[in-house]
Symmetry: C2
Subunit: 216 residues, 2 copies
């Protein structure tokens, strides 16, 4: 019996250590809030691209991308701060998960950090089309209905969709400004992806959006 317990403990400890080793938080750099191309030029260049090179984004580029998407642009003491994208009733119900080859992370805008979620490559599951696995990262927009007050289910679904649209367009424009490739995807097996991500019942995948450098 002692031997069995020892072996079980050993397995548990090994799993925990292995998980911890594989996935540590990614401390993002301070976003650069001054640069980028002029807005009208960015809008002229806005487009969807479905071919990605394997080249990774630098931590600074990643930090800027996530801040542009829905980062804190007007800090509020003691609160999560106001954002680059609006949300209905300021619910801030949309979370951005980021799927890299090394694993899945959750963007914490207030702390400017990527929190580890799962040491698995979920890029292929972030869309039906094959190119999602080629991009160095896939953004996964997830709503959390529990933050949406007493709204009924239909309203929660509606505003989760509009509020994801605001964020996704910021990603499009950031990519247009920086010469990155991106496309927003609704053609996703959302229940399967939610299961792989380990989402709770009040969390729903809304859209996904691979981001990377264009393949030349």
């Amino acid at each position: 019996m002692k031997k069995i317990l020892f072996v079980l403990s050993f397995i548990l400890i090994c799993s925990a250590v292995s998980f911890g080793q594989k996935l540590k938080p990614i401390k993002l750099l301070k976003p650069q809030m001054e640069g980028g191309k002029p807005l009208m030029q960015v809008l002229k260049a806005r487009k969807s691209s479905r071919v990605f090179s394997k080249k990774k984004l630098s931590v600074q580029m990643l930090s800027n991308l996530l801040w542009a998407a829905c980062g804190v642009n007007r800090p509020v003491a003691g609160k999560t701060g106001k954002r680059t994208a609006p949300s209905a009733c300021n619910w801030q119900e949309i979370d951005i998960y980021v799927a890299f080859a090394k694993g899945l992370y959750l963007y914490d805008a207030a702390a400017n950090i990527l929190k580890p979620v799962l040491a698995k490559d979920l890029r292929a599951a972030a869309g039906i089309q094959k190119f999602t696995k080629d991009a160095p990262l896939n953004l996964i927009f997830v709503t959390n209905f529990s933050r949406m007050g007493r709204a009924n289910k239909k309203s929660k679904e509606f505003y989760s969709a509009t509020d994801t649209g605001f964020i996704s367009q910021n990603v499009y424009l950031f990519c247009a400004s920086e010469g990155l490739a991106t496309v927003v995807l609704g053609y996703v097996n959302k229940p399967m992806l939610a299961k792989k991500m380990g989402l709770k019942s009040d969390q729903k995948v809304i859209l996904t959006q691979p981001v990377g450098y264009p393949e030349r």
Copy 2:
């Protein structure tokens, strides 16, 4: 009998003439696709504002605003062209109606023109909150389900919401770049507004967005 017919004809002609005089198409100017502030600075300044001055936008500003929202950024010969905002399956199902004091217009992006719809001031009906009538214009985002192929009703509602989000965020960023005030509104009596606008059964109001100069 002749007299009655004459009087009736006279009334009809007068109504038609009066309607025509009140509302003519607004020929938009060529949008300026090069200017604007740097994108990151625009994202930093992005916010919702609910106080509007009565000052009107110039035709050039209006033309730039509508182009930024969902204008043609990549013309395609013989087609409606690709846009500054994406839409699911490129359905381009979202129309922008513009409510001014003098009446309601429909933005035709391909022709770069505002088509007259109704010689009535619908700004007060574009939101429950009183400030909508103060803004010189209210954008009204309307989906047209008949453009959305064989998608089921739930999908049509979902993508109409996401696709409006993309466009609305463009409006937010254009306003941030130009020092204009704006706020997106879901708190709208949509069936009442749709009725006043004379929308068809396959058209639905998604969101509205007053735009103007800030009250100083």
